[in-house]
């Protein structure tokens, strides 16, 4: 007999009115409130009542579109358009919650790693150790035009497997890996005990414990150190969504949590094998890297009721909803069965994408979670207050620390 599995971890991905494009038209949807702080506070507080490990918040620099790989923004008027900066939403809700991890999405292709590092470090201070960040690439002409600094080839979804497409992906993910390396070095650039406030000598910090990071890469050089002292978790949690080789490699080399999109248990085996191989190759074999399955969820009391909801949503949207992730329409018990099976197949947790907010979020917190608890698959209370703690990740010492622990 092998040892019992650790409990599964559960997150929800928050995106506008929900992941289904017609979510905003549902009776309980609040499409006029999507830019209001109270809307986001309510969602995250609901997730916290369900003891969820963390929430992610979607974001993009360019406006939402039904055709993300197109050159042009679409001109639809029947979809939610407009969204707020996810890091700032995360920070706005952090003081209103106490246990749940908060993981905003950030685009790494056009932004500054120095700014982002201090923003996530600060989110970690504001949330007292519950910050993470999900890194996302956007090597597209429509995103680049917003900044006017770089050019990217216009490559369609179909051409992503062409040599040009492969090259683009390779470069974008190499830059993402550099970006995460800079974030991590900057978070470590102050040792934990660098602030000494030594009145006798008049020194506020011990400058021997503050380090330049001297990063040099293809797209940016960053000298450091950070202007923000080491955050409470030492290293806030880094996550990435990955669908194929290069992104799997990024998860293995750089992330603490990978979000993946299997359809079958066999997919889970091959995906986790790829990620573990990248992890080993990067010398991180001993570290915990969680692999979470992403699933879009449409939940109802009966199987038929859930299917009817999905049909109604698709009709309102004018097309059947397609997703990179599995779309599960069924009962909370049925979803619990799937999660248990996939958990046993090698996923340590799940990031559920509620099709409709708040409806499917409430069914997660009020129906799915109790079902998982009955089966002994999920915790009955928050055990700690940090996100690393919730994920079973130790708090690392700074890579620049010259002494272990506090000197006498």
């Amino acid at each position: 007999m092998s040892a019992p599995l650790p409990r599964l971890r559960l997150a929800v991905a928050l995106d506008g009115a929900g992941w289904h494009p017609a979510a905003w038209r549902e009776p309980n949807a609040r499409p006029e409130d999507l830019l209001k702080p109270g809307y986001w506070a309510g969602l995250v507080q609901e997730a916290e009542t369900g003891l969820l490990d963390f929430v992610t918040i979607e974001d993009s620099l360019s406006i939402q579109t039904d055709a993300p790989f197109g050159t042009e923004d679409d001109d639809r008027t029947d979809r939610v358009r407009g969204l707020l900066d996810a890091v700032l939403i995360a920070s706005r809700i952090a003081p209103l919650t106490r246990h749940i991890g908060i993981v905003p999405t950030v685009v790494v292709t056009h932004t500054e790693p120095f700014h982002l590092s201090k923003a996530i470090a600060t989110l970690d201070y504001v949330s007292r150790g519950r910050a993470g960040v999900r890194v996302q690439v956007a090597p597209r002409p429509r995103d680049a035009a917003l900044f006017g600094r770089r050019e990217f080839p216009d490559i369609s979804y179909a051409d992503l497997r062409s040599p040009a497409g492969e090259g683009l992906i390779r470069e974008a993910f190499a830059e993402a890996a550099d970006y995460v390396e800079v974030l991590r070095r900057l978070w470590d650039s102050w040792e934990d005990d660098a602030e000494i406030r030594d009145v006798a000598t008049g020194r506020f910090v011990d400058r021997d414990k503050i380090h330049y990071i001297d990063f040099e890469g293809l797209h940016f050089d960053v000298k450091g150190p950070s202007i923000t002292p080491r955050p409470p978790q030492g290293q806030p949690v880094v996550a990435a969504l990955a669908h194929r080789d290069r992104p799997f490699e990024l998860v293995g080399t750089s992330a603490d949590v990978g979000f993946v999109t299997p359809r079958t248990p066999a997919d889970i085996a091959s995906i986790t094998a790829e990620i573990r191989a990248a992890q080993d190759a990067a010398g991180r074999g001993e570290e915990t890297v969680h692999v979470f399955g992403d699933i879009v969820v449409v939940l109802d009391e009966t199987e038929q009721g859930a299917q009817d909801r999905l049909t109604r949503l698709n009709e309102a949207a004018g097309a059947a909803y397609e997703s990179d992730a599995l779309i599960f329409a069924g009962t909370p018990a049925g979803l619990a069965d799937l999660l248990a099976t996939w958990h046993a197949a090698g996923l340590s947790g799940f990031r559920l994408r509620p099709a409709v907010l708040p409806d499917d979020l409430r069914r997660i917190t009020q129906k799915l979670v109790p079902e998982l608890q009955r089966r002994g698959l999920f915790h009955d209370a928050y055990a700690g207050t940090t996100l690393r703690g919730a994920l079973g990740l130790p708090r690392p010492i700074s890579r620049y620390a010259t002494t272990e622990g506090t000197p006498a």
Binding site: R142, F147, P229
Partner: protein
């Protein structure tokens, strides 16, 4: 106290703001009452004291590289600070009416991202965001950024102007009536291309769709802090408020008259731009006690070690062996314009340094002061010193005499240093009928008495 006043005019209402103590020697971190500059609790306490005092806003400065002197990280002042946007967004959760003003650099950012962050902050604070637009030009800071390099100094206001113009264009792409969110008809937007923009100038060439719909204030309130000719023109043309350093009566009046006098040239009214100098205060039961306390604080702010560092900044040479209790150095400031102090805004040329050193020497000679005593005398003297009654009447007099429209107060203790002012001076200003007894409006713009921005 008597100052010039035109008795025909109704009394001006005073605006007050709170500057979170910064990373310079004004902040006395060695005081037992001094708390964290990083932990969120400090920011919450500070903001809530300011809001209890019905202050218009709180102010966060920014730094993008740790300061260095003679090639080493400067360690005598507070070192380190959190991210401006992130702190302001979090403070929106624990305050209701207090404006949230942040300094954000226009050199090491891009307009699309900054416009997006301020529009987001304005939504998340229900209309309380404000931006102090600054530029840097130093390669030292650039070493932390993609852009790297630096901006030629003569382009800094061009960069600021074009950056703000680009950001304004982005904010104005949404008029505010585009979101229908009509569940029945299925129309979310009233117009398919909401947010579309194209902007080209000497610094930027950007296009696409801005993805944050119009925020409660339309745009954040705009601050400017530069003092040069160009800075003053920039403020007169574009800003809603100036964060000035002229807190004394006469220089305040000169600055006020000068900048307000520029407004007409840019088609703006006298009341479209507020002048808000930074000011420090020392409050005690009596004026005599306050004077004594002010001297003690100055000695805390200028320790012997700090005196030598400040001396080196002006002389721009290594004076680590100089005796702080002895006279000023006989050697002149260095002619080298590669500054010994990096990451400070106060870059000066050799000529300015010579002139200022000569002024320090005059003070030292005239009063028989040591190096440290001279520096205590000539730098950073507190703006308002006295009993609550004295400070209230002085601030009122200064504002009525058009030396300012109000003050941005910089306490020397984090986070509680503002509390005595709120508890003792604010009620006196209210009794005088020159400070609000409740917030007038919901947005910062309303509380500052500024007009809605045109589109």
């Amino acid at each position: 106290m008597s100052t010039v006043r035109n008795d025909d005019k109704p009394k001006k209402q005073i605006h007050l703001a709170a500057h979170f103590p910064g990373v310079n020697n004004t902040t006395v971190w060695s005081d037992p009452a001094s708390g964290s500059h990083i932990e969120f609790d400090s920011f919450v306490e500070f903001a809530q004291i300011a809001e209890r005092g019905l202050f218009d806003f709180m102010f966060l400065a920014e730094g993008l590289r740790l300061r260095e002197q003679a090639g080493q990280i400067y360690d005598l002042d507070v070192v380190g600070r959190p991210d401006t946007f992130t702190i302001l967004a979090a403070l929106a959760a624990v305050t209701e009416r207090l404006g949230l003003t942040g300094t954000i650099n226009s050199t090491f950012n891009e307009p699309y991202e900054v416009a997006r962050q301020f529009a987001s902050l304005d939504h998340l604070s229900d209309g309380r965001a404000a931006w102090n637009v600054v530029t840097s030009w130093d390669a030292f800071t650039g070493e932390n950024f993609r852009r790297g390099g630096y901006l030629p100094q003569d382009q800094r206001y061009e960069r600021a102007r074009t950056f703000l113009d680009a950001a304004t264009r982005l904010w104005d792409t949404w008029k505010g009536d585009e979101i229908l969110a009509d569940k029945a008809s299925g129309e979310f937007l009233s117009t398919p291309a909401a947010g579309t923009f194209e902007h080209q100038d000497s610094q930027f060439d950007i296009s696409g769709r801005f993805n944050v719909p119009r925020s409660p204030q339309g745009r954040p309130v705009i601050f400017q802090a530069g003092d040069s000719e160009e800075g003053r023109d920039f403020a007169a043309a574009k800003a809603d408020a100036i964060f000035s350093r002229h807190s004394h009566l006469e220089d305040g009046q000169r600055f006020y008259t000068d900048v307000k006098g520029r407004l007409e040239r840019f088609g703006r009214r006298h009341e479209d731009l507020l002048i808000l100098p930074a000011a420090t205060f020392v409050l005690a039961d009596t004026d005599a006690e306050a004077v004594e306390l002010a001297r003690e604080i100055r000695l805390q702010q200028v320790s012997p070690a700090t005196a030598i560092k400040l001396l080196e900044q002006l002389w721009n040479r290594d004076l680590s062996d100089h005796d702080p209790d002895g006279p000023l150095p006989t050697v002149d400031p260095s002619e080298n314009d590669d500054l010994i102090a990096k990451g400070r805004a106060s870059a000066r040329s050799h000529g300015d340094r010579l002139e200022q050193a000569e002024r320090w020497r005059e003070v030292s000679r005239a009063k028989g002061l040591s190096t440290r005593e001279t520096i205590v005398e000539v730098t950073g003297r507190q703006s308002f010193i006295g009993s609550a009654e004295t400070i209230a009447s002085t601030i009122d007099d200064f504002v009525q005499a058009d030396a300012a429209d109000g003050y941005i107060l910089v306490p020397h203790i984090t986070p509680g240093g503002l509390a005595p002012f709120v508890d003792h001076v604010v009620p006196l200003l209210q009794e005088r009928g020159v400070f609000r007894t409740a917030y007038e409006g919901a947005t910062l713009r309303e509380n500052l008495g500024l007009r809605e921005p045109g589109q």
